[in-house]
């Protein structure tokens, strides 16, 4: 009787393991299949057009925008952000920097764009621009400068925010992203306290999300993490989100950028 139970248990355990393996394999296959035709390409094309198009009250292009490597230099900029900018005297991530350029070069109201809901109006354009700019650094390795004092300070602040447990559930970023080899349900979780590997975590966003058919910037990715953490709403381009970007970006040093990636 006992032997039967044991044998049955063994079959069931291996059955469960098999089902699990095939579930994750299925997701991996699904991603590989979709990566052939990643809809992010459409956003890339739109972003490139937006960069070169005369727009806004000043009817100007973004071609003189300084993303950190000098006016108009796009290639390689993404893998060095967030970084400190002398003109704003702030550490900025890609999206907040884009809004600065849209304001100074094109005459848009940056505060209005920051307040606009994701997926609406100029926010869509910021996402498309970020997608193209990230794609221009595809295959490059993350290498944030982290040398200016404000950059070092923002890294330290980001680290503190990463471990800040709060909200109704006492969750911090580290609750899910603080250890190797963990899962939430069947979803693998990257350990973001260090370099999680090429194209993982910070090196994957912006990404196209198949489940909702939306292109998500890192700002929106962080926003949804905070929603699930039961935190209040992080403001677009806020210092907290940029500090977290600095923390994850510095930690990702050496990771190859695959953004814009495709996600489930």
């Amino acid at each position: 009787m006992k032997r039967w139970t044991l044998a049955l248990a063994a079959i069931m355990i291996s059955g469960a393991a098999l089902a699990q393996k095939s579930a994750s394999d299925g997701i991996a296959e699904y991603r590989a299949m979709l990566a052939d035709g990643n809809p992010a390409e459409l956003f890339e094309a739109k972003g490139e057009d937006l960069w070169k198009q005369k727009r806004g009250p000043k009817n100007a292009t973004l071609e003189k925008c300084d993303l950190g490597k000098g006016p108009g230099v796009v290639k390689g900029a993404f893998v060095e952000l967030p970084r400190h900018f002398a003109d704003t005297n702030k550490v900025q991530d890609l999206e907040s920097r884009l809004v600065t350029c849209m304001e100074t070069l094109q005459g848009f109201n940056g505060a209005e764009i920051a307040k606009t809901a994701y997926g609406r109006g100029e926010q869509n354009n910021v996402t498309a621009l970020a997608t193209w700019i990230a794609a221009e650094s595809r295959g490059l390795k993350f290498n944030l400068p982290n040398s200016h004092q404000q950059e070092k300070v923002m890294y330290e602040v980001g680290k503190r925010l990463f471990f800040m447990r709060s909200g109704t559930h006492d969750f911090s970023c580290a609750s899910c992203h603080g250890e190797d080899g963990k899962r939430i349900r069947l979803q693998d979780l990257p350990n973001l306290t260090k370099n999680p590997g090429d194209g993982i975590g910070f090196a994957a966003w912006p990404a196209y999300r198949v489940s909702n058919g939306q292109m998500w910037s890192m700002q929106l990715r962080l926003n949804d993490c905070y929603r699930q953490q039961r935190f209040p709403f992080p403001l677009f381009g806020s210092d907290a989100t940029v500090a977290l970007g600095a923390y994850m970006g510095v930690n990702a040093k050496g990771a190859e950028n695959i953004a814009p990636a495709i996600k489930r």
């Binding site: 925010l161 471990f163 447990r165 109704t168 580290a174 209040p232 709403f233 403001l235 907290a240 500090a243």
Partner: protein, 218 residues
């Protein structure tokens, strides 16, 4: 031990710019303060998720500090956190600990509730399967917490009403109600203490884990 530490204090405007004036790196205390100011300035209310959720109690503040330092929390601090949280556990009226495991399974499956996109007052789930294996039938489980499969059986609970089952039943209630009562920096939400689950819902989770008839203990 103070009941609650006000983590957030009035934010200075453009705190980062202020720091930029210094020639050397700010101290740990200054960085802690700057983090508070930045957090305060970076979030707004949305739906039921209000900015008061950024106020850390002593347990969260001390564990955060230890995590940032990359060191385990000091034993004396840990004991104080555990004692304070243990004292806050609400035990069920009339010693009725066990509900219906079928309801418990539904609550364990649900990850809903208390985000800014959930309707205020809607029923919350327990989020249990996000982190734990529980019944063997559900293969979509997380691994952030330990497996709870055979939870009651492995602890020798063959009869819920036997006197020898009382200790593990009480511990399990306490752990679900307020995990920090037993492990100061546990990552597990304090389901009862923080009002995530009602007393009745906790009883159903108790049944799922401990009832010899629950699929968890087959």
């Amino acid at each position: 031990m103070k009941k609650q530490t006000q983590f957030l204090i009035a934010a200075g405007v453009a705190a980062v710019v202020l720091v930029a004036g210094c020639s050397s790196m700010p101290s740990t205390a200054e960085l802690d303060k700057l983090t508070q100011d930045i957090a305060k300035a970076s979030f707004r209310d949305q739906g039921q998720a209000k900015v008061d959720r950024l106020v850390l109690d002593d347990a969260n503040l001390e564990c955060m500090k230890a995590d940032v330092a990359g060191q385990p929390i000091e034993e004396k601090t840990a004991k104080a956190i555990e004692a304070a949280n243990f004292a806050a556990i609400k035990w069920p009226a009339g010693g009725q600990y066990i509900g219906d495991w079928k309801e418990g399974e539904k609550i364990a499956q649900s990850g809903r509730g208390m985000t800014w996109s959930d309707a205020a007052g809607s029923e919350n789930g327990g989020n249990c399967y996000n982190c734990h294996q529980i019944s063997k039938e559900e293969i979509s489980f997380g691994t952030l917490g330990p497996s709870l499969y055979n939870y009651g059986k492995m602890r020798g609970v063959s009869n819920l009403y036997a006197p020898e089952s009382a200790a593990i039943i009480q511990y399990t209630w306490g752990k679900i109600w307020n995990s920090r009562a037993y492990n100061a920096c546990s990552q597990m939400p304090r389901a009862g203490h923080k009002g995530i689950l009602t007393e009745q819902q906790v009883k159903h989770i108790m049944a799922l884990l401990l009832d010899p008839k629950s699929p968890v203990n087959q």
